[in-house]
Amino acid sequence: MVTTTRRSFLKTSALGAAGAVASPYLVGGVRAAAPIDVGVLFSLTGGMSIIETSLKDATLLAVSEINAKGGVLGRQINPIIEDGATDPKTFSERASKLAIQDKTETIFGLYVSATRKAVLPVIEKRNKLLFYPTFYEGYECSRNVIYTGAVVNQIVWNAVPWIVEKLGKKKFFIVGSNFLYSRETSKVTKSRIKQAGAQWIADEYLEFGSAEAASLVNKIKESGADVVFSNIVGSSVIAFYREYRNQGLTQDKLPIFSTVTTEIEIAALGPEFSAGSYTSLPYFQAIDSDANKSFVERYRAFVKDPKAVTHQPVESSYFQVYLWKQAVEKAGSFQADAVREAVRGQEFDAPDGRVRVDPENLHTWFTPRIAQWQPDGQGKIVDAAPAPVRPLPYAAYGETDDNLFCTPHGLDQKKLKS
């Protein structure tokens, strides 16, 4: 019924104008081909809007850079931006709109796993591609999703042995928010702790979004643990770290080691509550490379905020657009099937280092790192793997490099069951 919205038209003309001015390729009077529509689907309102808006911005940054250099296959990218409003029902509807009405072959987006699950039916039925930039709990093997976020084995596997060896801590208190990511990460962590010869004393959960951490911190105090392994997410992070210090616990004696806390929460916490704690993720804003420094500068210029922070999913949102571009150019087509085959094995020099899309399971190879948060709000890298690590979305169930559960044929459920 409706084919071109006013927005997409304006965007087209704006981008077209920008491209014409900035790009040397178009100055020569070459007629530009019709722009290619892509979906950009994040929560711009609601509880997750703070984080997801930065992901939208990073996506648009990549789009504008690519367009300035001539676009993809000679066509300018036209991003159609939709708001999921932190609600799976809304996400499902917007994804339908992008896939069916706007007929975009590719959608960049989503953050919370529950929303990704809600859009999968329409993406899979219509055979579109979703580029998903968020680190998540794994256990998924959809051929319609390119997972450019880290999975648990790239975050936890390096972390636990490092804590035991370098920090000398042997008694883990695991905490999380009451939902899938925390629970599944906790499972992987427990088995890794056992392998490392340490022990986990407790595994407790806060209600998702709760700000009342007093009881939990009290339990930590009385447990005799010497390190807290935290998978707490969202607004509870701030409440937890604050309560921690308010009850007299210090990061040097009983550090918090997190798989989730990023520059965004650290900025909102302030150094007195966060300095000395650790996070394990592949990307940190403080990574000292030219590529990353340039990325941070360009991002800040794009969002017009000199104090903006970049964090893991921001980096993924940025480089996944480039991965898509490379795949399209290799395939010579925008069609989902062609792009999917072409994206297998694609590599890119991301701000944090080399990343690669695994040809088997469509997840991304990352270099695991560990950082300790400093008083200036940045993470000082204290450990980095020598090379990118293969993503294993089913690591908790015994998946290893030679025994892959997720292949181009789909998920091998028999392996999962054992």
Binding site: D83, A118, L180, F208
Partner: protein, 381 residues
Amino acid sequence: MALKRGHLDLIIYGAFVAVILVAPLWLDDFWVNRLSKYLVYGMLGIAISLSWGYAGILNLGQGLFFGAGAYMLAMSLKLASPTSLQSSDTPVPDFMLWNSEPGAVANLCCINRVSFLWIPFQHQWFGLIAGVALPSLIAGLLGTVLFRRRLAGAFVSIITLAFVLMIRLLVIEEQPLTNGFNGLTDLALLTIGNFQFDPYDRATYYLVAVSLSLALIGARLLVGTRAGLILQGIRDDQARARCLGFNVPAFQTLFFSVSAAIAGLAGMLYVVVAQFASPTFLDISFSITMVIWAAVGGRSSLLGACIGAIVINMIEATASETAALLDLWKVIIGLIFVLAVLFLPRGIAGLAGSVSDRLFAMWSRGRGQAELPSGAAQPAE
């Protein structure tokens, strides 16, 4: 032929049903699916209107009944999905496999402490029946406890609020049973006989449209019965109704349960159209938003509440999909709520009612008939 007030009702209802049945002819796949969702919300509007406008019970936790219906059907559809059948001869939901202890038997009876509750859902008809039965049952129990104690309006509302919050908490907590936060996804298509209901098929749309029409007409007939009139008497003055000898709690519980059944049916239809069930159905913001739909559309008008739900959702979708309004659509919705409550206490239906009253009076006068007194005891629109 004399045109009576009652006939006007028939015409309007008939027109509405005709419009929704004919709409797909001009709409593409996407809009057909989207409109199906809005029709489901319309059913929720009817449920709220029945409970609030006619029975005087403001249910702030209607999402509970919607969610219950949704989960019942979703459980059956999950078991029917290919993802549940691949690792064992009997269906076991994939998330249970992921959550199970090592060495557990891959069978619904024993894979975890609570999985046996899923066993009856292997039959699709069980899920279908439970989707309407469970909400009605909960409503019946809740109603019996609450109404017998003669709780006043606000207290009932607060309890329904606390109840839905509590159930939401438990649903998210019991991950081995419900898959917690992620909800039930990867569902099979609803299959009746040899026919599969694909969410983007016209057939699915008609399933929803017909259900809505039946619910609408059924509710309308219900409030026109003697029981319905008594109910309105109870709504207007409980003490008087009691003094007149009516069994007030019984009537209230009955209509509360019917309202819950409609909401449960809506939940099931939503699962068919959207292909997932989620604990976000139990969010209080969703439940309160449903009430706002009914308030804007007209709480004492079944059709008004239904249309209110559809229209507000359309405005929301259009506003949030327009670039210029991307940031503003929530402000628009908030303004609509406040203005509607302030200036349209009987909702748009009330406004339409007053306008049509006046037009009708003018028509009657023009035909030399007596003017209809505006306060006549007519069944509400």
